[in-house]
């Protein structure tokens, strides 16, 4: 076991961290508390506040870096204030004195939004005289998922708008076993939602899931697992053209589902938007389940943890559960508070780093769009 209290200050019995997350269209601020000692089921991290504001674009439009950065700039100070009030409930001028550090997402993510948030982190760090800690976004998801679900050493499926990775821990690194070769799964779903012009509120993926529940005809889509990796741009291209044919009333034999056995025209049924959503979900999630199962066999694990925004999709959780139960394993997932990007996970992962004596100098606090999960040395684990 790693000693997490090597850098304990005299008389200190607990740690508090502020986390700032803004790598994509969500701005999340959270405050977490750790008591001294190992984190166990009896000594859990405590979420003091976890507030979020999402930049929602009109239906059919994605979020652009510049506009997203402007959203974050508009909200960041207000949201920090709200998080402090919620956590400590007292006057602002005293509440920050409890904080040990400020954690921020250093990457991966969109450059401009990341940069707009780190400015606030730098200013507050100097103003309050506490260190900053740059956190890898993916590590934030993994550590928060482990803390919430008590999964000890799971295979981690990290699925979100910007990332699709299958990860397992080995010798102080979260190692990537497989990942997308082109676009992320959430990106694939979001972009399909844009073609359908469905609302981006609360999230495009959620709305696709609701439509998919009404779908009943499965259309075969390309199935593109490449070893441990995935490719999704071809599937998107394929289903986009199907959707366009459907909208334009173009004849396409794939858009007709045959129900009967005698093959007459009366048995024919037109494929609907709902069927397309259903088929896309089934196809993509089947691919995820396949690589997850292979990763489990590789590392001999029986736990699966799903993190990232797409992780709150109930159909994905259901399909994964069927596979995991077949292998006598267990599945762990969190709800939207912790699945979808949030500040608390950054605070939690950052605080773990802080307790191991790490911090980020101002000069090193530049954010980076590319920051791989396996670049981080996981000092707080030694199993």
């Amino acid at each position: 076991m790693v000693n997490l209290d090597q850098y304990l200050k005299p008389n200190q019995t607990e740690y508090y961290a502020l986390g700032l997350e803004g790598s994509a269209n969500k701005l999340g601020i959270g405050i977490i508390k750790h008591n001294i000692g190992q984190l166990t089921t009896l000594n859990k991290a405590e979420v003091l506040s976890n507030v979020r504001d999402t930049y929602i674009t009109p239906a059919g439009e994605g979020f652009l870096p510049r506009d997203t950065a402007r959203h974050h700039r508009n909200w960041v100070v207000r949201l920090i204030k709200e998080a402090l009030n919620e956590a400590f409930g007292c006057g602002l001028h005293d509440s920050f004195k409890k904080l040990d550090c400020i954690c921020f997402t250093q990457g991966p993510g969109m450059g401009a939004p990341l940069q707009s948030v780190v400015i606030a982190a730098r200013t507050l760090s100097q103003l309050w005289g506490i260190p900053m800690i740059g956190v890898n976004h993916c590590i934030g998801h993994i550590e928060m998922g482990r803390e919430i679900t008590n999964a000890m050493n799971p295979v981690v499926l990290y699925v979100s708008g910007g990332n699709t990775q299958i990860i397992a821990y080995s010798r102080q690194r979260y190692r990537i076993f497989g990942e997308t070769l082109d676009i992320a799964i959430g990106n694939c779903l979001d972009r399909f939602a844009r073609v359908l012009k469905i609302s981006n509120y609360p999230s495009p993926g959620y709305n696709i899931e609701q439509l998919a529940k009404k779908g009943k005809n499965f259309i075969e889509l390309p199935y593109t697992v490449k070893g441990m990796d995935l490719s999704m741009s071809g599937i998107l291209e394929f289903i986009e053209s199907l959707a366009n044919d459907l909208f334009n009333g173009k004849k396409n034999k794939l858009l007709i589902a045959k129900n009967g056995t005698n093959g007459t025209n009366e048995d024919e049924e037109k494929i609907t938007i709902e069927d397309l959503c259903f088929s896309l979900q089934e196809c993509l999630y089947a691919m995820l389940v396949e690589i997850t199962e292979r990763a489990m066999a590789h590392v001999n694990a029986n736990q699966v943890l799903i993190v990232g925004g797409v992780g709150c999709n109930e159909r994905l959780q259901e399909m994964m559960k069927i596979m995991v139960l077949d292998r006598n394993g267990s599945i762990f997932a969190t709800d939207e508070r912790f699945c979808i990007d949030n500040g608390i996970m950054i605070a939690h992962a950052g605080l773990l780093s802080y307790r191991m004596g790490d911090f980020t100098e101002l000069s090193e606090s530049v954010c980076t769009q590319k920051f791989r999960t396996d670049e981080v040395l996981v000092k707080w684990r030694d199993d």
């Binding site: 920090i80 730098r122 100097q126």
Partner: protein
């Protein structure tokens, strides 16, 4: 700077703060981020007492305008932090 000759356009901001502490913090908050196109633009931040001086030198007015806009946006966040938390 060897490229000084190519940088024909300049712009200078002088931003007064309440005190020199705030000016120093603002300077250090803005300073770390690198310029995306160093062959077209240079930005320097210095603080003299309570005044933050930002100098832009660049190869065209366009690159300076973009950079200056961005710096002003960042400054707004810094100032808002002071306003609420200092």
């Amino acid at each position: 700077m060897s490229k000084e000759g190519e940088f024909t356009h300049t712009l200078e901001f002088k931003v007064p703060f309440l005190n020199s502490k705030q000016a120093t913090i603002a300077c250090k908050s803005l300073n770390p981020d690198p310029i995306l196109k160093p062959n077209e633009l240079e930005v320097s931040y210095v603080n003299e007492n309570e005044v933050l001086i930002i100098k832009f030198t660049g190869s065209s007015d366009r690159v300076i305008r973009v950079a200056a806009n961005n710096v002003i946006e960042n400054l707004k966040t810094v100032i808002e932090c002071f306003e609420v938390f200092d």
